[in-house]
């Protein structure tokens, strides 16, 4: 089922005001309802190589694999949908490719990348991520961060070392605890949720969230909620107006219409009530 008339996808990646090249990569497939964003790290162009491999490899893998499975079927041993399992596998494949490229070429040694993937299918979403690129959802005018950063700072907040406010003063910023391509294997965080008409999903690199806070992101999205192209440009513009110290990337998906595989999808709800 094509999602072209049900989901509207926009995206911009920008090198910002300070860096001389862009190590972020973005990609999307409107038919599949797939969005991928990666923020590369590592010298000698390693960062841009790693993020480009990640986006290309994940998009290609899923473009081949997704049409071959029945939609929204649950894998009984893990409880995840088959879509989630394929996304996890695609990220692990990308990890393997980047790791091997770094092993084969000394100038790419140590390169890696964050990644965040969103897939919309059968009124559901799967979100997969590694590192500090994020996914937010705006529903009914409220913005919610759905991913949890894999950073030392977030780990310290979770363990009670800092309050969120204190963490902003920390000197240990920008240390990620997980990345794609750095080791021979990688752990991927997966989550599944229900998508509703009117939802906006925002994928972004830390070039956005280090420059502007969640309140401002929410304000911008509310102000431009009827014009997704302007919303996308404004998010990039505000990140640059607030310093633009890093590459900044934004991808947005809006649910125009619900997209169930079966028309009476709500009736699938379970038997425990009836």
């Amino acid at each position: 089922m094509s999602l072209i008339d049900k989901i509207n996808i926009t995206g911009i990646t920008d090198e910002g005001l300070v860096r001389d090249h862009n190590e972020d990569s973005i990609g999307h497939n409107d038919e599949l309802g797939l969005l991928v964003l990666a923020d590369g790290m590592g010298g000698h162009k390693g960062g841009e190589v790693a993020s480009a491999i990640a986006v290309d490899s994940i998009m290609q893998d899923l473009n081949t694999a997704l049409p071959q499975i029945p939609p929204a079927k649950i894998d009984e041993s893990t409880g995840y949908s088959l879509e989630s399992m394929l996304i996890e596998k695609a990220i692990k494949d990308a990890n393997f490719k980047i790791f091997n490229a770094a092993q084969e070429n000394a100038k790419y040694e140590g390169m890696g990348t964050t990644v965040v993937v969103l897939l919309l299918y059968d009124n559901r979403i799967t979100v997969a991520h590694v590192g500090d690129s994020r996914l937010y959802r705006m529903r009914d005018r409220i913005l919610e961060q759905m991913t949890r950063d894999h950073t030392l700072l977030q780990e310290l907040v979770d363990r009670g070392f800092y309050t969120k406010k204190e963490a902003n003063e920390s000197l240990n910023k920008n240390l990620v605890t997980r990345a794609v391509g750095v080791n021979s294997s990688v752990d991927v965080d997966l989550l599944e949720d229900i998508a509703l008409g009117g939802d906006y999903y925002l994928l972004c690199s830390d070039g956005l969230t280090d420059m502007i806070d969640d309140n401002l992101i929410e304000d911008i999205m509310l102000n431009y909620r009827d014009d997704q192209d302007k919303m996308t440009r404004e998010l990039i513009k505000q990140a640059k107006d607030h310093g633009g110290k890093d590459n900044v990337s934004v991808q947005l998906a809006k649910v125009l219409k619900e997209f169930p595989v079966n028309a009476n999808w709500l009736n699938k709800f379970f038997d425990i009530f009836s």
């Binding site: 409880g79 949908s81 030392l152 000197l171 240990n172 240390l175 080791n183």
Partner: protein, 235 residues
């Protein structure tokens, strides 16, 4: 590197570099900072240093630990902070602090065995990764999601019926009345409002209507979805 200066009645007694992950302070001799005073517990407090930042943590001492006059349990330290233990004052000095614009490139903390040998000369973090950092980076703090959970209906026609939450996303409710979902995320289980029927009403947790954001669930929370009560519990 950060240092601490230990003083009594305004006279500095000693100074110490924070070159270890953990510096302990207490009355007993095997502390890094040993203070011979009955007001000080055997192992009174510790200073944890994680890369550029340090934290003071009271080790359930009898008389407590204060920071700039306020009693604390565990809190980050800023340059110039004064810790008070018994009558002793410990001043924290970190010249790196307040260095203004320290926006750095994102770096990867690589704690895997295979990666550790190659850190030199690459873009990976060039500081030796301390024990605490390595531990934090490799253990998952959000391990609530590893636990199996279930819901048990406690009202309505199916009262007593149990449902193990084997799927990552489980939908509950009656279409047109109220629909919600329980989702298992890497950080734990959450209840999500999906559809409130004509009047848009959201489900309740422990008799309170939940917000529009995902609501984290705790063991033995009582949920109410489509007028049916159920208890969420870990196995």
């Amino acid at each position: 590197m950060a240092t601490i200066q230990i003083s009594l009645n305004g006279t500095m007694e000693s100074e110490l570099n924070l070159d270890k992950d953990i510096i302990t302070i207490g009355r007993k001799n095997d502390n890094d900072v040993s203070i011979d005073s009955l007001a000080v517990s055997g192992y009174h407090a510790q200073i944890l240093t994680i890369l550029n930042d340090s934290f003071i943590e009271d080790l359930d001492s009898t008389n407590g630990t204060s920071l700039n006059g306020k009693e604390i349990k565990k809190t980050p330290l800023a340059n110039g902070d004064v810790i008070k233990i018994g009558q002793h004052e410990i001043k924290y000095i970190n010249k790196n602090a307040n260095s203004g614009d320290n926006f750095e490139r994102t770096m990867i903390i690589n704690t895997a065995e295979e990666g550790m040998q190659e850190t030199e000369g690459s873009q990976k973090i060039d500081q030796s990764v301390g024990k605490i950092v390595a531990e934090i980076a490799t253990t998952d703090s959000g391990n609530a999601s590893q636990q199996q959970a279930r819901i048990r209906l406690v009202s309505g026609a199916n009262s007593g019926k149990e449902l193990p939450l084997t799927k990552v996303l489980t939908t509950l409710g009656k279409p047109g009345v109220q629909v919600a979902a329980i989702t298992r995320r890497p950080t734990g289980y959450f209840l999500i409002h999906i559809d409130g029927g004509d009047n848009g009403e959201r489900p309740k947790v422990n008799n309170e209507i939940i917000g529009l954001k995902a609501h984290p669930l705790k063991d033995n929370d009582t949920l109410e979805v489509a007028s049916v009560s159920m208890i969420f519990s870990f196995e």
